[in-house]
């Protein structure tokens, strides 16, 4: 017993200084962490608010770039609030009394597909793309006077999943990236006079990148109406 006790005591006696050092180290670390947390409790709201504000600001800047494309003639001509599509850079009413029809594809006898084929017909000046059609009225980006809606109104509409076919942020990004009629805006073909149609103000790559920044910022919309 004595031997064991001595041994035990001996071992304990030898370990004690190490344990004390460890204990002191842990204490220092805990105090440092506590102090850090205490500091963060004062600093973090501001810091976090700063991050949020910067992200939201970046998102809003990106949105304005997206908006500049959405309201360009190649896009907005088929996002009307009226019963007809538009055409041309001056966004005049589509000729030949073409109307929207129940599914946005015209009416029997006068469908979009009566002229618009799967691809552009540059030799005759008729643009084309897969499933050529008008955007639904829930995605109108103009008023009834054919004036583009405000940035706020368009932003709210396209982020409203009850209006946008249930697209969340990534869904909107994918739509802008892959949808055939969206991509058509950058391959719009030639006018009947043989000249090239005007392109949107950003390249498709820039448009997708702006959409991505906007989505990563949480699809913020500008304040106001």
């Amino acid at each position: 017993m004595l031997l064991r006790s001595r041994r035990t005591g001996s071992v304990f006696d030898q370990a004690a200084p190490n344990a004390n050092r460890i204990l002191r180290s842990v204490t220092v670390i805990l105090v440092a962490c506590g102090a850090g947390l205490l500091l963060m409790s004062f600093a973090s709201p501001q810091a976090r608010h700063g991050d949020r504000a910067r992200t939201r600001t970046e998102g809003l800047v990106a949105w304005q770039q997206v908006y500049s494309v959405l309201t360009s003639p190649r896009c907005i001509n088929c996002h009307t609030a009226t019963n007809y599509p538009q055409q041309g850079d001056d966004r005049h009413r589509h000729f030949a009394t073409v109307i929207r029809g129940p599914e946005g594809k015209g009416v029997a006898g006068l469908n979009c597909a009566s002229c618009h084929q799967e691809t552009n017909a540059d030799s005759t000046g008729v643009p084309g793309g897969h499933n050529w059609h008008l955007a639904p009225l829930s995605m109108r980006w103009q008023d009834l006077n054919d004036e583009p809606l405000s940035s706020v109104a368009v932003c709210r509409a396209i982020t409203d999943q009850s209006k946008n076919h249930h697209l969340d942020g990534p869904g909107l990004l994918k739509h802008h990236e892959d949808e055939a009629l969206v991509r058509w805006a950058w391959q719009p073909g030639r006018r009947p006079d043989g000249t090239m149609r005007t392109l949107p103000p950003l390249t498709h790559e820039e448009f997708v990148a702006a959409t991505r920044r906007w989505v990563e910022a949480g699809t913020p919309c500008p304040p106001g109406r």
Binding site: A96, T97, G101, V107
Partner: protein
Amino acid sequence: MATYELNVNGQRKQVNVDPTTPLLWVLREELKLTGTKYGCGISACGACTVHVAGIATRSCVVPVSLIGDRPIVTIEGIGNDPVGRAVQDAWVEKDVVQCGYCQSGQIMSAVALLKTTARPTDANIEQSLGGNLCRCGTYVRIREAIKRASGQLT
């Protein structure tokens, strides 16, 4: 030049033409199906209307290279269809035609309408045939004939 195999009025036809040639001119010049008319050349008048895969199509603005294997029906073949036959009979019965130049296009659009809307209203008719112009102004008789054909079919 390129060679295209077309299905026209149920028959296989081969043509060797420039890919940008509008379908209208393939029908008229290559296949001698002259019932389809050239009016404006910019899809504004409807005189050149044919059916491509059942869709009333303005053949003057569709290059033949974009047709693919979709079946084409022209005014020469529409009478083989029950709806087409009824419309043509109604056209004769109501004596719709004056000069007649636009009438093949009018009939093709009318058939497309009746195939989707068995009992069209006046508004349906005006919307569906709004792109088919008639300088003789036979619109009233066109409407009567469409309703007559509708009555015969339903």
